[in-house]
Amino acid sequence: MNTSVQSPQNGVKVIEKGTSLWADAFVRLKKNRLSMLGGIIVIAILFACFILGPVLGWLGFSATEQDLTNRFANPLSDNGLFGTDQLGRDLLMRVLEGGQISLLVAIMATVMTVTIGIIYGGIAGYIGGRLGNVMMRIVDGLLAMPFLIIVILFRELISGHVDEMARFLIDSWGWSTDLVLRYSNLVPLTFAIAGFGWLTMGRIVRTAAASLTKQEFVEAARSLGLSHARILFRHILPNMLGPVIIYATLTIPSFILYEATLSFIGLGIEPPNSSWGTLIKEGANYLETETTVLLIPAVLFSLTLFAFNFLGDGLRDALDPKASKD
């Protein structure tokens, strides 16, 4: 709401701008030191993995070049910031490249989760009734499945098609084999994680949509004769962005965790490709004598999870002051 006030000094009208919900939320977020720190770390890690890593790669640093005379070099030595791994590869480059894969999987799976969750949960919540209930019982049934079984199922169902696609891209379109194999490896995993992850998102969206549908402004929109699609996308959806954003931020770290867990047990990213999960797995094998090969990826991985979680918690408190416990 804009209010005009007479400025006492010079008598000129000053337009005082109202603060929007988002500006308000940002002010609250800024007060939460821990989540601001989380946000800064998230940005730094995203920058390192998606910009610094490729730039260093372009400058000639390699994550795959082996140097067997320089195995397990110490960090901060001539052999790179983080030293080298069991095959003399630059650990910094390995960690940046692995992080890129881990984050890509988590972010893409989150985008898919949010999209499917909004469509499915939005429809189930908006139409409600028996059909909406049946839709949610299906979600309940799938949620009751053991996480690993559902993820492996989705992965196996998709990986055949992805392999075909990759071969097609290499053979017919002449794409670089290295590039295609590196990124095609993460597609089945992403689908598998999203295939499980959207269930919770669907539930959250349904709850929000169902309660919004009962509110007066939706009734008003209906009495104006707006179409269902317009009500859903212009009136209900914008009002659920809060919970969706909060959940999405908290979903990314849990998906990073899923990716690492699956890679750790050999069902995720497969060598020679690397992710934080595979790096931790390899590092654990040498723990008895060498600690850096486990600790560096593990610390970076945990730091990322910490940062995303604190940022998500802060966003929840900022966007939904009622839920924050002050």
Binding site: R137, P146, A260, T261, I265
Partner: protein, 306 residues
């Protein structure tokens, strides 16, 4: 009360049925077959094996036969990947191991997480709160596959009384249980803190304070029971999940539990094993959810009337 239980039981039956049906058709839709890895399996041998396990019949018939076998013979069939073993034997051998490990880590998780959450709520926005929440967050972020190896090298190695990995001595349960309990404790701490903060801001707590009830008594007699409700809701499914084993922890510490069967069953396309496990897991999940609902009804009188 009885009606609530009956309707929940009926819902559980429906969910378990859906669960098994979905698993059945999904696992058969997966490319490949259980005999793909076996060395030098001739087409004739393969056909004979498929006939033996009934895999040559159309899918709906196989589906129907599986249920018939379960209901009329109480039998989950033979494992396909592990020749000569029955699915029920595999479950009855591995479940006690996972149950023991799961229960111990659950007890440890509860006795660590709930006090942590209460302390955090009582010292809300003070140093102790932040400390407790950072510890809880560490329980979520420092995962089992990082903790496990570190425990093995730094605790089990120097102490000769503990095996680095294995399941021969009673003491072998300790490290896997500790590794497993942190995740549970972390979630419980966060949920308990949230629940406690909710309750402490209620009017009846203020009234109790105004009447001069001692602070400790306010917590134990008035606040604790409603504050623990979110934690109890979480414990239902968590209980079912943790007593059916964790593949990661079993893998690190070489524990012969149930978690391995879930993963190896799907990857080797052992249809019978996977379906048996999913049915078993689904029933356990239903029972655990029902139990947690009953505890919630016991804890909250408001739930009793509806």
């Amino acid at each position: 009360m009885l009606r609530t239980i009956l309707s929940r039981l009926l819902q559980t039956v429906v969910v378990v049925f859906l669960l098994v049906t979905f698993t059945f058709f999904a696992i058969h839709a997966m490319p490949g077959d259980p005999f793909a890895d076996a060395k030098a399996t001739s087409p004739e041998e393969k056909a004979a094996l498929e006939a033996y396990y009934g895999l040559d019949k159309p899918l709906p018939v196989q589906y129907f036969n599986w249920w018939k076998n379960v209901i009329s013979n109480n039998d989950f069939g033979d494992s396909i990947a592990m020749k000569g073993r029955k699915v029920s034997t595999l479950i009855s051998e591995s479940f006690p191991v996972s149950l023991k490990l799961g229960l111990l880590s659950l007890v440890m998780g509860i006795s660590l997480g709930i006090p942590l959450g209460i302390i955090a709520a009582l010292y809300h926005n003070q140093m102790l709160d932040y400390l407790a929440m950072i510890i809880a967050m560490a329980g979520i972020c420092v995962v089992a596959f990082v903790l496990g190896p570190i425990f093995q090298i730094n605790i089990a190695k120097p102490l000769t009384s503990l095996n680095v990995a294995g399941w021969d001595r009673p003491a072998d349960i300790i490290l896997p249980a500790i590794t497993l309990c942190f995740g549970v404790a972390a979630y419980l701490a966060r949920l308990t803190r949230g629940g406690m903060l909710d309750v402490l801001s209620q009017d009846y707590i203020r009234s109790a304070r105004a009447k001069g009830v001692p602070p400790l008594k306010i917590i134990t007699r008035h606040a604790l029971r409603p504050a623990l409700m979110p934690a109890v809701t979480f414990l239902g499914p968590a209980f079912a999940a943790i007593i059916t084993g964790s593949f990661v922890v079993e893998n690190i510490f070489l524990v012969p539990g149930m978690g391995q069967h879930f993963v190896l069953g799907v990857t080797s396309k052992d249809y019978n094993l996977v379906l048996g496990l999913v049915l078993f897991y689904g029933i356990l999940m239903g029972i655990a959810n029902l139990l947690s609902d009953l505890v919630l009804i016991f804890m909250d009188p408001k739930l009793r009337t509806s």
